[in-house]
Amino acid sequence: MEFFERFAVPHPSPAIYASMVAIALTSIAIVIGLTYFKKWGYLWREWLTTVDHKKIGIMYMISALLMLFRGGADVLMMRAQTAVPENTLLDAQHYNEIFTTHGVVMIIFMAMAFIIALMNFVIPLQIGARDVAFPRLNALSFWLYFMGAMLLNISFVIGGSPSSGWTSYFPLAGNELSQSVGTNYYMLSLQISGLGTLITGINFIVTILKMRAPGMTLMKMPMFSWAGLITNVIIVFAFPVLTVALAMGTMDRLFATNFFTTTNGGMDMLWANLFWVWGHPEVYILILPAFGIYSEIIPTFSRRNLYGYNTMVISMVVISLLSFLVWVHHFFTMGQGALVNSIFSITTMAIAVPTGIKIFNWLFTMWKGKIQFTVPMLYALGFIPIFTIGGVTGVMLGMASADYQYHNTMFLVAHFHLVIIPGVVFAMLAGLTYWWPKMFGFMLNERIGKWAFWFIAGGTCLAFFPMFISGLDGQARRMYTYSEATGFGIWNMLSFIGAIGLAIGFVLIVYNIYYSTRYASRNIGDDPWDARSLEWATHNPVPEYNFAITPQVNSRQAFWDAKKKGHKLFKGGYKEIHMPNNSGVPFIMAVFFFIFGFGFVFSMWITVIASLIGIIACLIHRSFEKDHGYHISAEELKKSEVELRGAK
């Protein structure tokens, strides 16, 4: 019995027991369903072992949406708890667990997965490639991310959730003050999914640098691919810092080292520095792909080319450099003194310049255009004003002296949500709607999509604008309750109503997916938006080989110029295509990683060693495996192309 006691939840509540039952029932239902419909083989062949960048992208997307709902459920509980003063819906410990997992899930498992989903799906198509440079590593990236996400998500029913904030500052996150295994889950799950992200970074840099279609020089690349390149460069420089910090934190918790402790020569401030040396570039890892998406959508629906292509590229490069020079602004109040704070204050505000250039370039792209208010465009148009407000309040926070008053308050919470939601979430929803026909061969319903947009945009404003006021009135963040005398009640109630608005918007999006899957026309052609870049030059949905003939590019808007100026994209006849084989190794290896992480969380060393042997065995297997892939012959290709064209 003693062995099993460690898996008990330290702070149980009826809600947690209900979740346990729900998780168990759902798992059983999935197993029965797969068996009944005889779908195990399909699942294994088409999804678990796939190395196709498009399917991996779709799996990232589904996972991101699931995590969005997990993080969203956390939000509703948090905002319900704080909606009225001295509420007793949740106690302090539960509230702390919920805001911690909300932060981790939304940043690491929702936003990161969503941007990687779209990069996976779109970038190889946009640059005219057949796949990413290392398809099997790509599968490994996804499965590592997925297992990391699952590891964190089981924490609240097995052993307890982390509760020291998504920043997990030591010494609060140390053994003495966080005694449950929650923080172990945090360290291990971020570590495993972080490895996946790092591999993605390398994979995409190589893909973009080496696999572009003939004629597509770097300065002819579509803007989303440019954003992807820079994002992945930031990933490769920033994520190793997180890896090291998490390893040190894990050792502090499990092997009694003293990196971040406050005794024996440890230094708690070191964690804060390392965390934000990764954490601030992470913000730009999230936002740059979003900028890339808007740079595709705004020209498409303004019917005009992107204004200031060169300055767009330069500004992204400048942002990526500056992103590594501002981390101290996350703790201006740590006592570095006026000189250090002044330097970081200036570097922080300097980021406003390249960001501002991008905003104005998008505005100038609409100038003399012919604007169509489609759902993706609505998100882009909603992004500009809301992001501007989020951005300028960021400049305000960058002024060190005033930051001493904003720091740790709801003002800060309002700022970063008003940057991340329009920046990342709007962009992902815009990208999802925009590339949906590319993924599935039909379009999402515009009317339901517009309703969802207005709920989400309105909900965002209502949820976060009041926080500027309550923050300036002295409401600290992360408080599970407050007294009536503070007068924060009204603002928090408004935020709660806004959160409900957001929730309705997301439910509408799910309904839209259901509705469109059932009723939308499958007869939409290959270019339903009248778009401009290369991914629209192939079929909807995309065949496994992407392009039957490798496209040849000689302008920035390759597909647009092919349509309007008669540039010829596909020259020559069908040739045999070499394709990679599916492989179960990435999935199996990631399962070992999951067991490894779980064993580590509970200090079960035999489990850890056994799974480590499994991981190494997978590596060895891969090294000696002879896998030459397979070929699609010219005849097969011709047949498939005729069929795809005939379908219209």
Partner: protein, 316 residues
């Protein structure tokens, strides 16, 4: 320009009306540091409002003028690569704005990180403010008294808070007197504040520190020097001495009401001072064990002077 001021005015009115005409805590400063910060906030709000309005006006204009439904079907938007002059303006104006804000930011940061202006050469009152789960301890070495969860301060005199923590990182914040600063267990940070007028203010830990974080608050009362001195005298006559045993009890995690003691814990449990803070090899417990709590006033005084000198040398 008219529009800009109209909207700023409207914004201020809306904020004022929404808050029932009661100014927001941070924008209702009662000391020189908070005043500086409130000024910076208002300057930045004004400049930011200008930027926001520029973007909004441009966006609305473009959306109305170039919306597809207004144009003939045959209209083909032109291909425009970019324009050097436009791009120079788009870079130049933000650079100017950031330059102006940088000057304001640097100047005000140096101001709030130094002894507050306007109190002549009055010596600052030094208070050691330390946090433990989930309380605040205020030690007045000069007066040799200590309070828990409430802070009395004299007006019109610089205040110098020495911050540290017996646990997680906390942040000492009295919004109406000035911005916050972290209290950590392995080093001391210094926060300069000042109160201009008598009054009662809210103080709290602003940095998440676990289960009892929400209630980790304290009351601040500012009063004229004379009244403050009377209070000290009264405390000395009525309060119990703070023993090491009692202090250990208080440190236990939990919430407490307001407590008052003579003597301070600085004597038997010195704060993590010096260049190496708590990282040095000295054991916290034994280095000052020679002082007992009654005869320590002078010793603490000396220690404070030494510490202050060191601090100044450090700053030069």
């Amino acid at each position: 320009m008219k529009l800009k001021w109209a909207i700023i005015g409207a914004l201020i009115t809306v904020i004022a009306v929404l808050t029932g005409c009661e100014p927001l805590t941070v924008l209702d400063p009662k000391g020189p540091q908070a005043q500086t910060q409130a000024d910076v906030i208002w300057i930045s709000i004004a400049i930011m409002a200008f930027i926001v309005i520029t973007v909004f006006v441009m966006l609305i204009y473009l959306l109305i003028k170039y919306r597809g439904s207004k144009q003939p079907d045959s209209y083909e938007p032109p291909h425009i690569e970019g324009n050097k002059v436009v791009e120079a303006i788009v870079v130049g104006i933000p650079v100017l704005i950031v330059a102006v804000l940088s000057v304001v930011s640097v100047k005000s940061t140096y101001e709030v990180e130094a002894k507050p202006e306007g109190y002549g050469d009055k010596e600052p009152l030094v208070v050691y403010a330390s946090s433990s789960d989930w309380k605040w301890h205020f030690s007045y070495p000069e007066q040799d008294i200590e309070t828990v969860n409430y802070l009395y301060i004299p007006t019109d005199r610089p205040l110098e808070f020495k911050l540290y923590s017996y646990g997680p990182i906390t942040s000492f914040w009295i919004p109406q007197l000035g911005g916050q600063k972290y209290a950590m267990s392995d080093m001391i940070t210094t926060l300069h504040l000042g109160a201009d007028a008598p009054g009662e203010f809210m103080g709290r830990n602003a940095n998440f520190s676990g289960e009892g974080f929400a209630e980790n608050t304290f009351n601040v009362k500012a009063m004229p020097q004379q009244e403050f001195d009377d209070w000290v005298k009264e405390v000395k006559q009525t309060a119990e001495p703070l023993t090491e045993q009692k202090f250990d009890e208080i440190l236990e995690p939990g919430h407490l009401g307001q407590l008052t003691f003579t003597g301070t814990h600085l004597d038997f449990m010195p704060p993590p001072e010096g260049h190496h803070g708590g990282h040095g090899a000295d054991d916290k417990k034994n280095s000052h064990s020679s002082h007992d709590s009654t005869s320590s006033e002078q010793a603490t005084q000396e220690e404070h002077e030494k510490e202050a000198a060191e601090y100044e040398a450090h700053n030069d």
